[in-house]
Amino acid sequence: MALNSKIPAGSLEDKWEKYKSTCKLVNPANKRQLEVIVIGTGLAGASAAASLGELGYKVKTFCFQDSPRRAHSIAAQGGINAAKNYQNDGDSTYRLFYDTVKGGDYRAREANVYRLASVSANIIDQCVAQGVPFAREYGGLLSNRSFGGTQVQRTFYAAGQTGQQLLIGAYQALERQVALGNVTQYSRHEMLDIVMIDGKARGVIVRNLVTGELERHFGHAVLLCSGGYGNVFYLSTNAMGSNVTAAWKAHKKGAFFGNPCYTQIHPTCIPVSGDHQSKLTLMSESLRNDGRIWVPKKQGDNRKPNEIPEEERDYYLERRYPAFGNLVPRDVASRAAKERCDAGYGVGASKQAVYLDYASAIQRYGKIEVSKQGIANADAATITKLGKEVVKEKYGNLFDMYAKITGENPYEVPMRIYPAVHYTMGGVWVDYELQTTIPGLYALGEANFSDHGANRLGASALMQGLADGYFVIPYTLGNNLADDIRTKSIPTDHPAFVAAENEVRERINKLMNIKGTESVESFHKRLGKIMWDKCGMARNEKGLKEAIEEIKALRKEFWSNVRIPGEVNEYNPELDKANRVADFLELGELMCLDALNRNESCGGHFREEYQTEDGEAERRDDEYMYVAAWEYKGDSNFVMHKEELNYEVVHPTQRSYK
């Protein structure tokens, strides 16, 4: 099967405009007859479901949480990018596009990224209209902050809770459609399979997590908005329930999986404190705006951070990357932290941490405040006090969170941070219309692979989720459903629904009947360790080959020795988790396979064999400038298809932030 990315003809600037003006439309009366299923209610799902409901489609949403508002988009802290150029600092659609393509290490599709950049400004308008309380300046206009990988201030934010505010905005728009009867929402429901009829996605099998019952739902189209798969590593900044199941089921039914090995390790997370750790907590990248990252110049220095004099500190990002300093992209910052720790300069009890220090920012802000308030001859204590107040206003909730988790006061002592799994750039392969290789099945937001290449820039995930949901899918879905207006709703007693439900039931029964001795959690932890050690921040051929064998063995063990307590037909979180971990155990293998295939380093994918003399990622454009789209052919049997990436506008170069 040849991949057709369906990129419209014409110049980069015209593609989307032309597409929108010429795509097929569905008239309002027909929209009312067309049913759309949306899996997941994060930024992509909620914004898509709300927008499609407004257009008149009959929409059903499904989420495994107890309310759509809980989706993990809610935890995004720092902000959302948009090429508004409100700061008059040289921003433009082109520059946002360029930064994103470069940030992605030239592994993203130009046309998609340009579309993303061009709708970014509409997102901010839409969110403000909904009442999203973005941060404002005293003049009443919107405020911006800087973010990694860029030199302009284009990030809109709501303290450290931007994701929450955007999701609540989308959730409210969604609830309005529920009230109007355009959307039916199903909470505590998890998708367990796609139903295929005549080669098209025509519905889903979901499990009601409260009663354990399986349900069949028909849709003319199915939208996967189910997020990323970072939890394959067990420890990540994802929510406990975040999973790959919906995407993986789609993959097994024929949707290709794009670039599974591209995972983003976020540089600023609170370090692991012990074996009990269940998840990792991110400290927003926005902290790198004002915080300075350092380690002691001496290996194994056990002094307290405040006892280490200025000249004995190594501000290694500022040293290595003078142009971007602490604001280098995430992949670069993460690797630099790992390099220092591996070389013996790490700090804290585990020595797997670096300092993120606010002392100089507190002084800088304090001095500004002193002069603003006209205080003559301010003493050091006043400057520090006022500086702390400014830092509290900007980052207070993050500092509080750090204090609660670690028991330390970050206003007084530098924070300890270490990289952690955060986001997956890979995902279900989609064409320009966000349609997967299964007709009628779409993937939006983090669930698809499309816009971030091999590394995502900060504050771009929210942008992409909302771009896909508010501004892309309403057009592209119509273009395809226009050919489906004669298709009547298919009754769910159709043999394909019956067969899909039976398949799901058999798998659940099989899981329940193993009655082994080891808990789901324990298997998940073991998988996570393999993935982190061998398919994490640095990868090599030997490790990846070992990992594939280890995962296969672990999967076999899981299917013969997992213990799931409780019954099928009741609220049973252990069974829910088992379903998800079973899929992670298959995905993990594909990630390693993809990482093994990609004999180069790019963005979040760092192969130790391919690095420059000074330890930077070495891309091999002549051989690997393609998207690896994997087709499922059966157990451990994946076939790779290539989508060549053609750069018509941007000329890929060795990425430099020096």
């Binding site: 927008s51 309310s67 403000v128 309380p133 941060a135 009443g140 409210q172 907590t281 252990e574």
Partner: protein
């Protein structure tokens, strides 16, 4: 540290619940409260017993899913902290900890510590939004908003919808939750055109769901993990009265 836990166990909505006593050992002070529950559940699974069901997801204090009444206090004793952010530093070796679900008739127990909070969704459906379709928006900076109003609106919008306010209230009132949403939208020009019917409809829905009335006790504010101020309830009352006397409720359902 070693702890004794008295945990509410209830098979489903219809069956009666009871307290069950468990013992956990070697709990590190670095653990979060939910990680301590993970330890308990792993132990129960190993013993062939049924684990305790509890709601949780993001484990960073923002999704609003976790919900335990710990020693009589919603989300435990730390100020402005969700259960997932409560750490075991807060407890002493040998302590007995009592853990219950949110208790309110509008939040029926699904199992053990898990409750059904869809009533909150329905309150939002009654009017907790701005009626603006995708694509209708004007340029974001065409609506300047006084900074302190924007900040106030944000402070109200910070509600995570966890329901601790209901659990803490002796009347099981949802006034703090509802008032936070009414305030968030009433303080912004975008929310202004619908403010009257919004407040009427949302209050009606709250009553329909079986939440109690507010008698100015203030436990909601004290237990709110996000510090939502009780001033929001005063603002809600003003909005409600204003809407009633203004006849502006004519669009209300």
């Amino acid at each position: 540290m070693n702890l004794t836990l008295k945990v509410w166990k209830q098979k489903n909505t219809n069956e009666k619940g009871r307290f069950e006593t468990y013992h956990v050992k070697d709990i590190s002070s670095e653990m979060s409260f939910l990680e301590m529950f993970d330890v308990l559940n792993e132990q129960l699974i190993a013993e062939g017993k049924e684990p305790v069901a509890f709601d949780h997801d993001c484990r960073e204090g923002i999704c609003g899913m976790c919900s335990m009444v710990i020693n009589g206090r919603a989300h435990g004793k730390w100020e402005q902290t969700t259960t997932c952010q409560l750490h075991m530093r807060a407890f002493k070796d040998g302590e007995t900890i009592v853990v219950e679900p949110w208790r309110a008739s509008a939040f029926p127990v699904i199992k053990d510590l898990v409750v059904d909070r869809q009533s909150f969704d329905r309150i939002i459906q009654a009017g907790g939004y701005v009626s603006v379709n995708t694509g209708n928006a004007v340029d974001a900076n065409a609506i300047p908003i006084e900074k302190h109003m924007a900040d106030e609106a944000f402070a109200s919008a910070a509600c995570i919808g966890c329901g601790a306010c209901v659990a803490a209230c002796p009347n099981a009132s949802a006034m703090l939750f509802l008032s936070a949403k009414v305030s968030h939208l009433a303080m912004l020009p975008q929310g202004s055109p619908e403010r009257k019917e919004r407040v009427m409809n949302m209050v009606n829905q709250m009553d329909k769901e079986g939440f109690g009335s507010c008698t100015n006790i203030g436990a909601c504010e004290a237990e709110c993990p996000k510090g939502i101020s009780i001033e929001n309830i005063a603002r809600l009352n003003r909005e409600y009265l204003g809407a009633m006397f203004d006849g502006g409720s004519k669009n209300a359902i």
